[in-house]
């Protein structure tokens, strides 16, 4: 028997060489393709709530704008005592508004929904405290607030909710009128699992006209909300509660605003980027009148409040004609991340007293949802619709309540011209509705929508929940 040594050795060497070459080529491939995305109808809403000291008339509204009933599980992460759980069912096209206290003791709420199309809002319905806004539908490691103040007569509360099973640790940074502040007690701040922390910023950084807040979670994910309480000693009394923004962007859009002598809107902008930002603030008037943009430079870590309309001097003011409704488009160049928020003060003289803040809308959408359309002591509920496209948008507004969906004729086929803002009144007047209805805004083209709810002693403003 003879054996072929050379061919065999050559074959072995060739196989090894081919293997090495092929191995190098193969190692360049993406070995772990991303899994395909999936969707589900079930959602979770996190409502951090307001501090007990400022929770007068606290209400929770659960609106089901879907066509099937929704099961809702509500978990109260009580500030004191054990976790309290409740469940309820919300029929299709129905709204349930209950006092916050009916769900359990003070604390953050976790609202889990199954089925239907549910929006959860939390707000206030008291004589001098009216507000309503959607709870957070996600947790995050970062939260931002641009409009805050600890000036005399103003309380700024930060509520950080950790709804999960693991403790969270956060750092709180404040960009104030007098520079960046990182109080030691708010660095590595522990938030126990399934609890919330109430932080009175007005005690930690008092007497600051402007306070923008950033929360970074080192460990875990949290939900943050801010409540501004303007006491009677403040120029305008009222409460403004908002869930923070979980992201920074270089473009912010606000659909609602007006230049009336009795109301003043400020645009609070914080530069949270690593570079100076050149801001362009473009008002979009309801009457279509061309308005020059305001351009200014915002230094890194700076926070400014720009007066919008009613300008007496050009500096620090966004010029808008008097007595006109407007929207705002704010963006920074070179992608520098900023946080923008409007804060509106109104006097009691024209019937729209109080304070409201809003983060505006993230991106235009064709469908917007609001959980409710009224408050106790209702004076008016309006929708500001901003169409930034060049073509007109046709908008239909429906009201879902009691298992039915009303489509008032006056709210159908509303045309919002391209590049215009339009305000429509959903409720109010002489005979305000006695029960809540969810607002469903459907547009032929993507628009931005903000809702303003006015009560007797305060008003609230918030963007809708976009359905993409």
């Amino acid at each position: 028997m003879t054996a072929r040594r050379a061919p065999f050795v050559a074959l072995v060497v060739a196989l090894v060489v081919v293997g090495i070459v092929a191995g190098r080529a193969a190692s360049k491939r993406d070995e772990h393709p991303a899994p395909a995305p999936d969707t589900t109808a079930d959602t979770v809403w996190f409502c951090p709530g307001a501090p007990p000291q400022a929770s007068t008339g606290d209400r929770v509204t659960i609106a089901n704008t879907g066509t099937t009933a929704a099961d809702v599980a509500i978990t109260v992460l009580a500030d004191k005592g054990p976790v309290v759980r409740q469940s309820l069912s919300v029929p299709a096209s129905s709204v349930v508004t209950r006092a916050r206290t009916s769900f359990g003791p003070a604390g953050a709420l976790t609202v889990e929904t199954f089925g239907g199309r549910v929006v959860v809002e939390e707000g206030f319905e008291a004589r001098a405290a009216v507000d309503a806004g959607a709870c957070a539908s996600q947790s995050s490691t970062t939260w931002q607030f641009a409009a805050g103040s600890t000036a005399a007569g103003v309380q700024q509360w930060l509520v950080i909710d950790d709804p999960y099973a693991t403790d969270a640790k956060v750092d709180v940074t404040m960009r104030t009128s007098s520079g960046v502040r990182r109080p030691e007690q708010l660095q590595g701040f522990d938030i126990a699992r399934r609890s919330r922390a109430l932080i009175p910023l007005h005690s930690i950084v008092p007497h600051q006209d402007r306070v923008a807040v950033q929360i970074d979670a080192r460990v875990g994910r949290v939900v943050a909300a801010q409540t501004l309480v303007y006491s009677r000693s403040a120029p305008t009394a009222g409460i403004a509660m908002t869930v923070g923004s979980a992201e920074t962007r270089d473009r912010w859009t606000f659909a609602d605003g007006a230049t009336f002598t009795s109301a003043q809107t400020w645009l609070a902008v914080a530069n949270v980027g690593a570079d100076d930002a050149q801001l362009t603030v473009q008002p979009i008037a309801a009457n279509g009148a061309p308005t020059a943009p305001t351009i200014l430079t915002l230094a890194q870590d700076d926070v400014e409040w720009l007066q919008v309309g009613n300008c007496r001097t050009g500096e620090g003011c966004v010029t808008v004609s008097d007595n006109v409704a407007f929207g705002l488009d704010v963006h920074s160049d070179r992608g520098v991340p900023i946080v923008a928020q409007t804060i509106t003060h109104a006097t009691t003289n024209n019937g729209q007293p109080g304070v409201a803040t809003s983060f505006g809308t993230d991106a235009p959408a064709q469908t917007w949802l609001f959980a409710r359309n009224r408050v106790d002591g209702e004076r008016a509920t309006t929708l500001a619709i901003l169409n930034q496209l060049a073509t007109p948008a046709t908008v239909n507004v429906a009201l879902a309540h009691g298992g039915t969906v009303d489509r008032p004729a006056a709210l159908q086929a509303i045309t919002v011209p391209g590049g215009r803002q339009l305000i429509v009144t959903v409720a109010g007047g002489r005979r305000p509705p006695a029960t809540d209805a969810a607002i469903i805004v459907e547009s032929s083209a993507p628009v931005s929508v903000e809702r303003t709810v006015s009560g007797n002693g305060d008003f609230g403003r918030s963007p809708g929940v976009a359905v993409h």
Partner: protein, 1020 residues
């Protein structure tokens, strides 16, 4: 003396020779001397021919167009010589071959032609001895020994070889003294035409020299003679003297000779042989040309390449010449190439001339041979020492596995007791995941048997299997390699050592791959049995079947190991020219595998179409070729140590000859197959599950160990017969390789567990068992499926497994194929990982999952680390219904706030929907033992096993209605308050087959014992 005209030589020439008729009739020989402008040497040549003692010799001088007529000189030197003058018109006609070929026509009646250059001086008896040897050896062409004209004690050549590219090579070293060391008559590839005796009929058959093979016409003639079946031999007793060699060739001569050589190759090789030789030859020529350019011989380089290109330019002529030559063929290339040398003749000649001057070479060679002999004798003692040392190292390495705690890492889970193991084997319902009616692996039956043999010491039984795999495998390797050298245990010990120190077994321990360990232990025995079975040993067939079944019951891919070995033998057949043995081995392996399959019936049939993890696969490791070659699949295998094994195994590829080379090739073929199986799947489908490399590479480990053993055998035997050279250096490589590998192994013996520590997850999480609850619960393990302490399945990019009432034991291994019920768990995990749900606890609750353990390592502070799955860990941390229970460096345990006991009752009318949306209220655990619950009802009995119609429940003698709840599990409606009996009714056929399989095990084992004794007495 006279000058004759062409065409009139033959009869007259021979007739005149007859005038002096010898007393004894001898075959007529015509010496043909081709000359052109001859020098004084012609006179010597003719004088020597005249002095020949061969009586029937005539001389024909062919004058090839000399400018001066040599006839007077020839007449003076040899009056009886015939002279024939040629007048070549062209350079081609002036060459030797056309002139010599005139003998085809000019000579008739001669039995032999003796071609003799005019510079050659034959000894007086040269022609006679050549003729005698031609008859004695039945040779077609015979050549003499050639010595130097001036110094007859110096050898010039004694027959010639060529390399595979037609380049001549003489084994004679420069100025080598003739001490009769080459005086054996032997076959050679060719003899130079300077002095060549050719049988006339053969010369006619070959049509003489090929005129187009100038410079290698003698090589060509002899090659064609060999193709025609004629022998070419050298008869060293016949001696001729030759003057100094021709000066260095001119570029033109190089070109012509190269062209001729290429023509010769094209003519003479078979198609396949040509396909191999021609490209390599051209590559070598290119290399030589580059070397020439670098050394300033540009014209010669150009001539070399021009020769190659010129040869291939005349395709038609080549085709005709090839057709003519191939018509002569009576033997195949293999027989021709036996006399060719390996490698490049030019390179060899260079090394011989430049690197080893004769004196030094001879001295070193002789001394080396002497030293080799001495060393070989001394080495007889080395195997014993090596065996003892490595055995001690092995025991040191596994000391804590054998004599202390075996950590429950991955598949090294604690074994159940005899009863539990047997019950698992015989139970119709399997408890893995949400349960299954599929048959269990025979491993549980084997566990019960081993536990019984060890008087119920299940822990010791497991230690023996885990810790004993290495020593058993080592012993098996020794046994299988013992026949390599009967006089010495060295090769067998080397095989055992190389096998034992291979990193693959240590990595198997580190990975907790019980299947790979078992295969490592049994592979040598299976291999040896295949070799015996191929020779008709029926006992060996049973051995293969039993061992394959045992290995497969632990790791299903093992079932194919015997076939893999047989396929390797078959794949090596083209290289070793032996297919019958390989075919018999394949048949034996196939037959034994079939018996193995029957032994594993019915379990093995449940593997058909099963998910990859049920087949014993694991995540495709991103192994490079180097990782595979060095067995670096885990912790062991880093550094140089594993290369030692590869190097040692590669040595016999160069050293071994004969049967040993055959087995070296077979071993390497098996190794390459295993390497490919370990490497390719991960490359072809990197995101898929593949057979564990530790197991696949067990075959490669055995193969390389065998090759290393063969290398040692070659050193003991083959190498002693060789002169000093690079092969002796390889001896050092072999020794150093094994020593380095042993040192690498020794460094890994520190922990006594090959890197594993004493801790494990079951120990760390034993507190789970301290909290028993009515109805029982499950633990969901999430993490890289390769590190989980249970047989895991895959959900997205992560693995998951379930254990019952705590961390569980080996009963969580060898999971049944994934069912749709199991899929609900996977779906829930995937949903959480995607962020689609924050209520994972509720989704898992119907499965009775009380704890969710996310682990990132095989053990708390040691063992392999799993692939990161931050999406899953983040998702778990962000569930609303999981409460953090415990955090360790490599694990997080959550308690499921929404969990439901495995056996529970729900109040009448409780909503039991497809999934658990709201918190379970009113559901309480139910005590159950051997399928019988405490008194419950009325309400719904939730029986959290995979739903199926074979589940039945009775209460008060009445059968309860069964339904499926939560989309996956069973529920029975209980109308009264009474104990409920719940049973799974298996298929009768399945039970019957299972019983038959048990009898088959007994029968095969009995037959194995019964056939063992005769084989032992017969000897191996």
């Amino acid at each position: 003396m006279e000058t004759i005209e062409p065409g009139s030589i033959s009869a007259e020439l021979l007739a005149r020779d007859d005038e002096a008729a010898p007393a004894q009739v001898v075959p007529p020989v015509v010496a043909i001397v081709v000359t052109e402008n001859p020098g004084p040497s012609l006179d010597r040549t003719l004088a020597a021919l005249a002095a020949q003692d061969y009586s029937s010799l005539s001389v024909l001088v062919l004058d090839n167009g000399s400018t001066e007529d040599p006839t007077p000189r020839i007449a003076a030197a040899m009056p009886r010589a015939f002279v024939r003058r040629r007048s070549p018109a062209t350079l081609e006609e002036r060459r030797f071959a056309p002139a010599a070929n005139e003998a085809l026509d000019a000579v008739e009646g001669a039995m032999f032609l003796f071609f003799c250059d005019d510079g050659v001086t034959p000894d007086p008896d040269a022609v006679r001895l050549l003729v005698e040897e031609a008859y004695r050896s039945n040779a077609g062409i015979v050549g003499p020994k050639v010595v130097d004209e001036a110094h007859p004690e110096i050898l010039v050549q004694v027959g010639m070889a060529v390399d595979h590219f037609g380049v001549p090579f003489s084994g004679i070293e420069p100025d080598e003294v003739d001490q009769q060391q080459h005086d054996a008559v032997r076959d050679v590839f060719f003899v130079p035409r300077a002095a060549m005796l050719v049988r006339t009929d053969l010369f006619h058959e070959l049509s003489g020299f090929d005129a187009a093979t100038v410079g290698v016409d003698d090589v060509d003639l002899c090659w064609r003679a060999r193709l025609a079946g004629a022998r070419v031999i050298v008869a060293p007793d016949a001696r001729v003297r030759r003057g100094p060699s021709a000066p260095a060739k001119s570029p033109r001569e190089i070109r012509d000779e190269t062209r001729a050589r290429v023509r010769m190759m094209v003519k003479s090789y078979s198609g396949w042989g040509l396909l191999r030789a021609l490209p390599v030859g051209f590559a070598l020529a290119l290399g030589e040309a580059v070397a020439m350019v670098l050394t300033g011989r540009v014209r010669r380089a150009g001539a070399l390449l021009a020769g190659w290109l010129g040869a291939l330019a005349h395709v038609g002529d080549l085709r005709r010449a090839r057709a003519e030559t191939q018509q002569l063929r009576r033997i195949d290339d293999e027989e021709v190439s036996d006399l060719m040398i390996h490698g490049s003749a030019r390179l060899r000649a260079y090394v011989t001339h430049r690197m080893h001057p004769a004196e030094r070479f001879a001295d070193v060679s002789n001394r080396t041979r002497a030293r080799m002999t001495e060393a070989t004798q001394q080495l007889q003692r080395v195997p014993v020492i090596a065996a003892v040392v490595v055995s001690l190292l092995v025991l040191l390495g596994v000391r804590n596995l054998l004599f202390a705690h075996v950590p429950e890492v991955a598949h090294l889970r604690a074994w159940p007791g005899i009863g539990a193991a047997w019950a698992t084997f015989t139970s119709p319902w399997r408890s893995t995941f949400l349960g299954s009616g599929a048959a269990p692996t025979p491993a549980f039956g084997l566990m019960a048997v081993l536990d019984t043999l060890l008087l119920g010491h299940a822990g010791f039984a497991r230690s023996l299997v885990v810790g004993g795999a290495l020593p058993v495998g080592m012993f098996g390797a020794y046994r299988v390699a013992r026949p390599l050298a009967r006089q010495s245990s060295g090769p067998a010990v080397a095989t055992a050592v190389a096998y034992a120190v291979n990193p693959v077994v240590r990595n198997a321990v580190w990975h907790g791959e019980l299947g790979a360990l078992v295969l490592f232990a049994l592979a040598p025995f299976v291999f040896g049995a295949i070799l015996r079975a191929a020779q008709g040993d029926r006992h060996a067939l049973l051995t293969i079947a039993l061992l394959s079944a045992i290995a497969a019951s632990v790791w299903p891919p093992s079932l194919l190991f015997a076939l893999l070995v047989a396929i390797a033998l078959l794949s090596a057949a083209p290289f070793v020219h032996e297919i019958a043995f390989a075919t018999r081995a394949l048949a034996a392996a196939a037959g034994a595998t079939v018996v193995g399959i029957l032994l594993c019936t019915p379990w093995v049939w449940s593997l058909l179409g099963a998910d990859a993890s049920t087949l014993g696969f694991r995540n495709a490791a991103n192994l490079s070729v180097v990782d595979v070659l060095t067995f670096h699949t885990g912790r062991a295998g880093t550094g140089f140590a594993p290369w030692g094994i590869v190097a040692a195994a590669a040595v016999p590829l160069a050293l071994a000859t004969g049967e040993r080379l055959v087995w070296t090739i077979r071993a390497w073929t098996l190794a390459m197959l295993c390497f490919a199986l370990a490497w390719l799947p991960g490359r072809v489908a990197p995101a898929s599950l593949v057979p564990a490399p530790d197991g696949v590479l067990a075959g490669a480990a055995l193969a390389l160990a065998l090759a290393a053993g063969i290398g040692v055998a070659a050193v003991f035997d083959d190498l002693r017969r060789l002169h000093f050279g690079w092969r002796q250096v390889l001896t050092l490589v072999l020794g150093a390789g094994l020593v380095i590998a042993v040192l690498g192994f020794a460094a890994d013996t520190r922990t006594g567990r090959f890197g594993l520590g004493p801790d494990d997850w079951p120990g760390t999480f034993s507190w789970m068992q301290d909290k028993p609850v009515p109805g029982g619960f499950r633990v969901l393990w999430i993490g890289d499926r390769d590190i989980l302490p249970a047989d895991a399945k895959t959900a997205g990019n992560t693995g998951y497994a379930l254990t019952r009432d705590g961390p569980g034991d080996a009963r969580a291994l060898w999971a049944a194929p994934a069912s749709s019920a199991d899929g609900t768990i996977a779906h829930a995990i995937e949903s959480a990982a995607r962020g689609d749900t924050s209520r994972l606890g509720h989704l898992l609750a119907p499965a009775g999952i009380r704890y969710v353990a996310f682990v990132t390592r095989a053990a708390p502070v040691h063992g392999p680390t799993g692939a990161p799955s931050s999406d899953v860990s983040d998702a778990l941390a962000h569930q609303l219904d999981l409460t953090l229970e415990r955090v360790d460096d490599a694990s997080v345990v959550y308690t499921n706030d929404a969990w439901i006991p495995v056996h529970a009752q729900a109040p009448p009318g409780a909503p039991l929907e497809d999934s658990l949306r709201m918190d379970p209220t009113g559901i309480t655990g139910v005590h159950a033992s051997r399928g019988r619950t405490e008194a419950i009802g009325p309400g719904t009995l939730l029986w959290s096993e995979a739903a199926g119609p074979r589940w039945h429940a009775t209460a008060d003698g009445k059968t309860l209605a069964r339904g499926t709840v939560f989309g996956a599990t069973n529920a029975f409606t209980v109308d009264t308050h009474a104990p409920v009996s719940v049973h799974y009714h298996p298929s009768l056929l399945l039970e019957l087959v299972r019983a038959l399989a048990i009898f088959l095990w007994i029968g095969v084992a009995a037959a194995w014992i019964a056939t063992r004794r005769p084989r032992a007495s017969a000897g191996r």
